[in-house]
């Protein structure tokens, strides 16, 4: 069995943006444990503050109150231990695929040149980009860019990989391929992973534990342990267990998503007219 003690702990975190009169609470009273060698999937309605949670975990933003702990110490800024894959592609446009992948290790100088080259070639092979090694990001398709970004993240072997909707914006087919690919990757080698997504099925098939966030100001609505057997594949989504998880989480998400509609007048009108339909 791999060790699954707690690696990161989010304690009563509160975060708001803006000046007093237009101050907007985004995260309120957030409590969350990230366990070692597990994939913690975070789902929430669109705009609820998922990326803000990612920024807090990574240390790009600091909580207004509360604490984020990692291995007993408080998180006070970005660090190579917590690597982030962003919602939007953040490959450096001026570097080739290979240069992007080796960016981190070269920067830190913590890998001898020979083994860096080997590791980079291996990882670029793994994500199937060998022929695109010397191409620039703008010469890659959207799916390839995401894979290049995964490679760039994986080579650093961070203590936690934090991924913010890494497959968003890909077409359905590519997205499915990426999910299968990532599933395989996770099952080959254990790593601690926070995976934020707005796709419930993606979350269920990847996750060891599924965190459902509430609407803004966001907090943890429920944590669901996903006990689907491993190795997994996308077909398992049609199993009765997966269906139960999905229905349960879907109900919560639906409720939360409706809150952001009913908050506004036009939103409640929309709901009313929706309800009146036969």
């Amino acid at each position: 069995m791999t060790e699954t003690s707690i690696l990161m702990e989010v304690k009563n975190v509160f975060k708001a943006f803006g000046e007093d009169w237009e101050r907007e609470k985004v995260v309120e009273n957030l409590n969350l444990d990230i366990k070692r060698n597990q994939l913690t999937a975070i789902v929430g309605p669109s705009g609820c503050g998922k990326s803000t949670v990612v920024n807090l975990l990574a240390g790009f933003e600091s909580p207004d109150s509360g604490q984020i702990m990692m291995e007993g110490g408080a998180v006070s800024g970005p660090s190579k231990d917590r690597l982030v894959v962003f919602q939007e592609t953040a490959l450096m446009p001026w570097l080739t695929t290979y240069q992007n992948v080796t960016f981190g290790p070269k920067l830190r100088g913590d890998m001898p040149a020979r083994s860096l080259k080997e590791a980079a070639d291996r990882i670029i092979d793994t994500v199937g980009l060998r022929e695109f090694k010397d191409k620039y990001p703008l010469q890659l398709s959207g799916g390839m860019q995401r894979r290049a970004e995964l490679a760039r993240a994986l080579i650093n072997q961070p203590l936690v990989m934090i991924m913010d909707e890494p497959f968003r914006g890909l077409d359905a087919m590519t997205r499915q391929l990426m999910q299968e690919f990532y599933l395989r990757l996770c099952e080959e080698e254990a790593r601690t992973n926070v995976f934020v997504t707005s796709e419930l099925e993606e979350a269920i098939i990847l996750a060891d534990s599924l965190v459902v966030l509430s609407n803004r100001p966001t907090t943890v609505r429920e944590v669901i342990q996903i006990d689907l057997p491993r190795p997994r594949n996308l077909n398992m989504l049609s199993s009765p267990e997966a269906y139960d998880y999905k229905r349960h989480a879907m109900e919560m998400l639906h409720e939360e998503a409706l809150k952001s509609f009913s908050g506004t007048e036009s939103g409640s009108d929309f709901l009313k007219s929706y309800a009146q339909q036969p």
Partner: protein, 280 residues
């Protein structure tokens, strides 16, 4: 060595590419048509006995070329080219050397920006030519004062472009680098510098154009004294004063050519320095 073969093939085919390039021929045809229209317009009076407005008063291209051939044999003409080019080059280089670090410093440090941006913004709207009297007094030689106003012409544009370019770098790149362990210096050298490069070249291209404008005006105003004399601007002014209108046109076209060569050089440098932009 494996790399060498495709490279030589590439450069061999470059001329071939140019010859078969539609855009290239479109440009050539456009220039020829323009010259033909000019010729016809200027010759109208001789051919049809009635003068075309505007164009009719100008010497036809054939005359201009003839004069150019003559002028081209005078060392003074080439000296003017040389003098103007040196002034442009020195002023422009100084603007790059001072402007790029200055713009970057304002972009990355809010204290530096807080102190230097307001005076910079007040000085910026002053046209370089308004500096002519002051700089003639200020600098010991006319030559230096011309170079100084050339410098000013490019400086503001370069600084504004560098500042804008560096400030608009996506924060995502900085964050990505930070979460891979980048220090402040790494962020500067590995993200901000390459990320600003396209804006630096935009600033350089625009600044170079302004530099030519300014150097000519500076030369015209400072007159043809021994110290600050010569230069294409003075060549035009002198020709005009001497009533040699054909020579004025030669001077004008010379500037056009000089400007075109300069901006081509900058484009070429941009091409070399930013390989990731080559596919456009």
């Amino acid at each position: 060595m494996a790399q060498a073969t495709p490279n030589t093939q590439k450069s061999k085919s470059r001329i071939g590419k140019l010859v078969s390039n539609v855009t290239f021929w479109r440009g050539v045809v456009a220039i020829l048509v323009f010259l033909a229209l000019w010729e016809i317009g200027a010759q109208w009076k001789g051919w049809f006995g009635y003068m075309m407005p505007f164009v009719g008063k100008v010497a036809p291209p054939t005359d201009v070329i003839a004069i150019w051939m003559e002028v081209g044999q005078q060392p003074g003409y080439w000296l003017s080219w040389w003098l103007s080019s040196v002034r442009v080059f020195v002023g422009f280089l100084a603007a790059m050397i001072i402007g790029i670090p200055f713009g970057l410093a304002m972009a990355v440090n809010k204290y530096f920006r807080g102190i230097f941006f307001p005076p910079f913004e007040i000085l910026r709207p002053i046209p370089p030519l308004a500096w002519v009297p002051a700089s003639i007094i200020f600098w010991p030689t006319t030559e230096m004062s011309i170079m100084f106003i050339t410098f000013l012409g490019a400086f503001y544009t370069i600084v504004i472009n560098v500042l804008g370019g560096a400030r608009s770098i996506d924060v995502q790149y900085l964050r990505a680098a930070q979460s891979m362990g980048a220090s402040q210096w790494d962020l500067f050298y590995k993200i901000i510098l390459p990320g600003t490069l396209p804006s630096i070249f935009v600033g350089a291209a625009v600044g170079m154009g302004i530099t030519w404008e300014v150097v000519l005006a500076g030369e015209m105003m400072s007159g043809g004294g021994q110290q600050g004399g010569g230069g294409l601007g003075f060549f035009i002014w002198g020709s005009y004063m001497g009533g040699v209108m054909d020579q004025v046109i030669v001077g004008m076209i010379s500037i056009g050519v000089a400007g075109y060569i300069s901006s081509s050089l900058i484009r070429y440098l941009g091409h070399v320095c930013m390989p990731w932009r080559r596919m456009f």
